[in-house]
């Protein structure tokens, strides 16, 4: 038997966008075990709920993660709205759907870029991020912020998008769609890219279930679960299929996310064509008393929000369960047996968001 070596990986490492530490147990070049250590960016923001009133806390929870900031805000406000049993205006629901899907496109493009960087395709990385900027421009135009834009409030949304703006955005996305086809085809058909992704990091269907994979990681292992089908925001009125793949490898994860980019564009088109002309928010009076859950499909998978109020303006508890946390165990599974050189890529394929995980 060859000797075992332990290689520390992270928290600061050239290929890691975010701090996570792994102790990689190696036999020659093969990883036989990986032991994670997290907590480098733990802030303790759930506890802050005791110091910020439930309306202000929206701004804190949005900073759980800067990538899906909007969705964190949306999950929290939906949960609080459920305590109040409040029915928010339809237009607000549609606006939330549109912003959420825009967030998904920007997040998946960001990930595709990082993946390209992960396998050393610098030009592709730049192209993905160039496309992503166009989504950010639309965020900026509609809300004023690029990544954190705080448009959620309990009872609706703070800003409206006028019809001409929506039409222009749809136009933008139609244009982007053509370019994106070309761009994503590189991921799906380029020979060198395929050699890096095909058959790497297998997570079988059973393993995905046992280890509790979430989001695209799970759907790439042929499990058709998408929380959007539960019908929060305006998803009830939207027609879409769950995108899955049977391959269970890194290529499949890439394929699923690419599929979801185009699906999101389609959802935005549907939402814009159906958006009703109502108010964008309602006034909610009183303090929350009781508890509620909300579940969201974030770009990285299902996130769960739990809030409990006691009739004062400070909530007793706010809790988030984030998708990356559940995806860590499947990631460790895919690392076992991998080549050391593939480790950065495999860590990337779960689309890790450590800020969410550690909060």
């Amino acid at each position: 038997m060859s000797t075992r070596t332990i290689v520390p990986f992270g928290p600061q490492h050239p290929v890691l966008p975010e701090p996570i530490h792994l102790d990689l147990v190696l036999e020659d070049e093969k990883v036989v075990d990986a032991v994670p250590k997290i907590g480098y960016i733990h802030r303790g923001l759930e506890k802050l709920v005791e110091k910020r009133d439930f309306n202000d806390y929206v701004y804190v929870i949005e900073r759980t993660c800067g990538i899906c900031s909007f969705m964190h805000g949306m999950g929290y406000v939906e949960a609080v709205e459920r305590i109040f049993d409040a029915e928010i205006p339809d237009r607000a629901k549609y606006l939330r759907t549109i912003w959420a899907e825009m967030s998904r496109i920007h997040s998946h493009l960001l990930w595709l870029g990082l993946l390209a960087d992960g396998f050393g395709f610098e030009a592709l990385f730049y192209q993905c991020w160039r496309m992503r900027e166009r989504v950010l421009d639309m965020f900026e135009e509609s809300t004023g912020g690029r990544v954190i834009f705080s448009v959620n409030k309990i009872g609706g949304v703070l800003k409206d998008m006028p019809a001409d703006m929506l039409a222009r955005f749809v136009n933008n996305f139609n244009e982007m769609e053509k370019e994106l086809r070309e761009l994503t085809n590189v991921f799906l058909t380029d020979f060198s890219v395929e050699t890096r992704l095909r058959g790497v990091g297998i997570l079988t269907r059973d393993e995905a279930i046992d280890l509790g994979a979430a989001g695209p990681m799970m759907r790439a292992s042929d499990i058709a679960i998408d929380t959007r089908k539960l019908g929060y925001a305006a998803y009830e009125d939207i027609d879409f299929d769950i995108i899955t793949s049977k391959d269970c490898d890194s290529y499949a994860r890439c394929e699923v996310r690419i599929g979801e980019i185009f699906q999101s564009i389609d959802i935005i088109r549907q939402a814009v064509s159906k958006i009703p002309d109502t108010e964008i928010s309602i006034q909610i009076k009183g303090n929350p008393n009781g508890e509620a859950f909300a579940r969201m499909e974030q770009p990285r998978g299902e996130a769960i929000y739990y809030v409990r109020g006691n009739g004062t303006k400070f909530l007793e508890r706010a809790r988030v369960r984030t998708p990356t946390f559940t995806n860590l165990t499947p990631m460790l599974k895919t690392l076992k047996g991998a080549d050391l050189a593939d480790v950065p890529l495999l860590v990337l394929t779960i689309d890790p968001c450590i800020s969410c995980t550690e909060r």
Binding site: P11, Q12, H13, P14, V15, P17, E18, P19, G39, Y40, I41, H42, R43, G44, L45, K47, L48, K51, Y59, V60, R63, T64, C65, G66, I67, S69, L110, G113, F125, Y126, W129, R130, E133, L136, G145, R146, V147, I148, C353, S355
Partner: protein
């Protein structure tokens, strides 16, 4: 920064940020903002770096990491705190696990405000850092440089 003698290399570390500032730092490196036109290159190796860009506040876990990275960088070096979290703790100031801004552990030279800090502001901070780096270098030279 009329004339920059050398291309400054940049090391980015995510303290305890929410990612918002990190992706904006990365956005600076991509075609739309492109800091490489100032000769700035992002490196992952502290021993190659001149400018340390930190996002997010300091907590007890990452304190030794940040200190270590700083001590590994060759002089002269400039520390840039990006985002209000790195400046003073920001939104998370009152969280139990946040000790405060980066200046709790390192001498911060440049503060870039914003939540998230905009790429334009980050670039402005980096350009200022480049100028400051030159100043520090000149000062070191006049004092006998690294040979003293």
């Amino acid at each position: 920064m009329a004339k920059v003698a050398k291309s400054p290399w940049l090391l980015h570390y995510d303290g305890s940020s929410c990612n918002g500032c990190d992706i904006e730092v990365l956005a600076c490196l991509t075609p739309v903002y492109d800091v490489e036109r100032f000769g700035v290159i992002n490196t992952g190796n502290p021993k190659h770096a001149d400018i340390l860009l930190i996002t997010g506040g300091i907590n007890s876990q990452n304190k030794p990491v940040v200190e270590q990275l700083y001590s590994q960088m060759p002089s002269p070096k400039v520390v840039v705190a990006v985002g209000i979290c790195a400046c003073n703790g920001g939104v998370f100031k009152e969280c139990y696990n946040i000790l405060g801004g980066v200046d709790k552990v390192l001498p911060v030279d440049i503060y870039v405000p914003g939540c998230a800090a905009r790429p334009n502001a980050i670039i402005d901070g980096v350009v200022k850092a480049v100028a400051l780096l030159e100043e520090k270098r000149a000062k070191m030279d006049s004092e006998g440089g690294n040979n003293k």
